[in-house]
């Protein structure tokens, strides 16, 4: 199966990329789906590069951690966009249908399991990104203003360290 994926990688990538970009509204997908400079189109380029990395990774030895790491750029973007959690990671499942045209019948259950494994890694990473967002939201104003006041001795409450607890980075 891994050989089949390797052999058909470009075709799989193309279809998977378009399925993913088409989760955006039609007017946006038209622009984001273009192969333009990676700095003029960060969503499009990060999506393509990430999906390519994932396809390469699943033909080798991989762990859930390495999958998560490979998925990070695209999940990190989708985690701050207007997708609900299901739609943020639903693009992974599109790979099942795309794979059906190239994967041999005997391997198809194995392939589905592989896609499920990618989906679980994507879900893990999505939660991590959402936690990042909430943590940043909770701590940024304290970090910015409170620390300056605290240093100047203008506030005598809990220190910033106390407020942020073990999460302080």
């Amino acid at each position: 199966m891994k050989q089949t994926i390797k052999k058909n990688r470009d075709q799989l990538l193309d279809s998977w990329f378009h399925a993913t970009i088409n989760t955006y509204p039609a007017e946006s997908a038209r622009i984001l789906g273009k192969k333009s400079d990676r700095f003029d189109n960060p969503i499009g380029s990060a999506t393509r590069e990430t999906l390519e990395d994932v396809l390469n990774l699943i033909t080798e030895n991989f762990s859930r951690e390495s999958l998560e790491k490979a998925l990070d750029p695209v999940i990190r973007i989708r985690a701050v966009q207007a997708f609900d959690p299901a739609n943020a990671v639903s693009f992974v499942f599109a790979l099942k249908e795309i794979g059906e045209s190239v994967i041999e019948k005997a391997d198809i259950i194995k392939f589905y399991r592989l896609v499920d494994e990618i989906a679980l890694a994507a879900f893990n990473r999505y939660m991590k990104c959402r936690e990042d967002v909430f943590l940043l939201k909770a701590t940024e104003s304290k970090r910015r203003i409170h620390r300056a006041f605290e240093r100047a001795g203008l506030v005598a409450e809990l220190s910033e360290g106390d407020l942020l607890g073990s999460k302080q980075s």
Binding site: S28, F39, P42, A82, S141, A148
Partner: protein, 552 residues
């Protein structure tokens, strides 16, 4: 007003297919599109803050509720407001008329590139207002609105409550950064459309609190954070102690000194918010150096204690009121000219509006650097010089002794802040200063810097906490370029000359490129500048060991 996010609301994201099924291509249809999503909008202005400024319709309201508590005749107010502005501002009239919807701007906006929401294409954001203009103010609109299909043909619509809510939502998803205008073949400045749009919304009391309360604070106490003069002085005194610990030199500044040569004004963020505080210490070190070496007489003022101007994001009149204190204080103190700190929108206000709003400042002199003799012709009328121009001029004339090695742990890149870059063309001076203070400097790709710089995603009053998803999505194009130079050249420090950037970019970096730190240009200057009589420094301004010191 605190809106607790319920789990259901957290899941309640936007339906990206807002068109009605009968007309799937008609984006003007608002029947399903007004979906105000938590994480994307800022809380409503507190009534006290709106009242302080004497602006209309101060009341508690919540954007998530159906009833926005608008005045009964709100449509009439808005209609009159648009009419008045069409007569007052020729640009507004032209920008309403000439767009041909070519789409050149569509993919240039960081909010569109980051959110993927088509209504964040500058052309569509402007169309929200333009569609109403066409309907109510053009001959074609008046003619076609009674013919079936006429409105669709012209792209016009009624001023409905849904249309109003949509304008509110999207005009507060624009940072007025003007990147789109660089690419518009007609030179339409979409930022000005947002500026007018927000001004119109303010006629109905529809401001956000992250703008209204700083404006109210600034109006009452002179700065956005509402810090009173004694606390302002306390903070600077504290910096004096820190600097003395690090350098052994007392850099106590002067306040409200009548007859000083120069009045220095910087955004209050530099005084109260990290990491801007280190940039502020950089200014203090520079002024001490210039005083000891060349006798330069600079004064600070606890009254003109804010360079920023959130009035700019409210209305022209509010901007004018907040800006007036700069000239008033300069006049009262009898200084020769004004020097301004590292700030973003402050410079757009100064460079493009101050002179005609509160000027001419003919009681001030055309700025001349008394140390080098350079005459700042570009500031001949406003009488206010950017500190990066001033410092670059000093460096160019060999007037500063700098030890670059103190910044050798920093691998730098420079983020052009939208307003100094596109609003006044300040492109090379900050780079010149950085390169005089540090050896390792790498540019981000050309389509992400200088005139084409990407906004931090938090400007124009949108650096609140509650809209963090909007900010992170909007910062994606900038972060994407930072990540590239981080991976390619090992860049670990993002230098910038804007107080909002210094506040917003650390959070951006933490989410997108956690290995990169944010630093002001004058923090680098403060580290590198060799003060007369200083002790051997072992720490930088952040009180971290200087490069090379930790091993000893």
């Amino acid at each position: 007003m605190a809106d607790e996010l319920t789990p259901d609301e957290a899941l309640d994201k936007i339906d990206f297919s807002p068109r009605s099924s009968s007309e799937p291509r008609n984006w003007l249809d608002t029947t399903k599109s007004v979906q105000i999503r938590p994480g994307m909008y800022c809380y409503a202005a507190k009534p006290e803050s709106v009242e302080t400024l004497g602006l209309p319709n101060a009341r508690q309201w919540n954007p998530l509720e159906d009833d926005w508590k608008l005045p009964e005749n709100w449509q009439e107010i808005l209609h009159e407001g648009i009419k008045e502005r069409l007569e007052r501002f020729r640009t507004f009239k032209i920008f309403m008329d000439i767009c041909v919807r070519c789409g050149a701007c569509a993919d240039k906006c960081h909010f569109f590139l980051g959110t993927g929401d088509p209504k964040n294409m500058p052309v569509l954001r402007a169309e929200l207002l333009r569609s109403i203009y066409r309907n109510d103010f053009t001959f074609a609109g008046k003619l076609l609105k009674n013919i079936p299909g006429g409105k669709r043909l012209l792209g016009s619509r009624e001023m409905s409550l849904e249309a109003l809510k949509e304008m509110w939502y999207y005009f507060f998803q624009c940072t007025e950064c003007r990147r789109c205008s660089v690419f518009c073949p007609y030179g339409i400045d979409t930022a000005e459309i947002t500026i007018i749009g927000r001004e119109l919304l303010n006629l109905l009391g529809l401001n956000i609190d992250w703008i209204a309360t700083p404006v109210s604070n600034c109006y009452q106490t002179g700065n956005h954070l509402g810090i009173q003069p004694h606390a302002f002085k306390d903070m600077l005194d504290f910096f004096v102690e820190d600097i003395e610990d690090i350098t052994g030199v007392d850099c106590t500044p002067q306040y409200q000194k009548k007859g000083a040569d120069i009045l220095f004004i910087t955004p209050s963020g530099d005084v109260f918010a990290d990491p801007g505080t280190y940039t502020c210490q950089g200014y203090m070190i520079l002024f001490k150096y210039l005083k000891d070496k060349y006798g330069l007489d600079v004064t600070w003022s606890t009254y003109a204690s804010e360079g920023g101007n959130f009035g700019f994001f409210t209305s022209h009149e509010t901007m004018k009121r907040l800006n007036a204190k700069m000239y008033a204080e300069a006049k009262r103190l009898g200084v020769k000219w004004i020097l301004g700190g590292e700030c973003g929108h402050m410079w757009r206000v100064i460079n493009q509006y101050m002179d005609t709003m509160n000027g001419p400042a003919d009681f001030l002199e055309v700025p001349v650097n008394p140390i080098t003799g350079t005459r700042f012709e570009n500031a001949a009328s406003t009488k206010m010089v950017h500190i990066c121009e001033f410092t670059a001029d000093l460096i160019k004339h060999g007037k500063l002794e700098l030890d670059k090695s103190r910044n050798s742990n920093r691998v730098l890149t420079f983020h052009d802040s939208c307003n100094p870059a596109r609003g006044m063309g300040l492109l090379d001076e900050p780079r010149y200063c950085i390169q005089a203070c540090a050896d390792q400097f790498y540019e981000m790709p050309p389509n992400t810097i200088r005139e084409q710089t990407f906004c931090c995603g938090s400007g124009a009053g949108l650096n609140a906490g509650e809209n963090i998803e909007l900010r992170m999505a909007g910062a994606l194009p900038r972060a994407n370029a930072v990540k590239y130079v981080h991976e390619k050249f090992g860049v670990n420090s993002l230098a910038t000359i804007c107080a909002i950037d210094r506040a917003a970019l650390p959070t951006m970096c933490e989410y997108w490129v956690p290995e990169v730190d944010v630093i002001g240009v004058h923090e680098l200057v403060g580290n590198a500048l060799i003060l007369p009589g200083e002790k051997e420094r072992t720490e930088d301004l952040r009180m971290e060991p200087l490069p090379g010191v930790e091993e000893e």
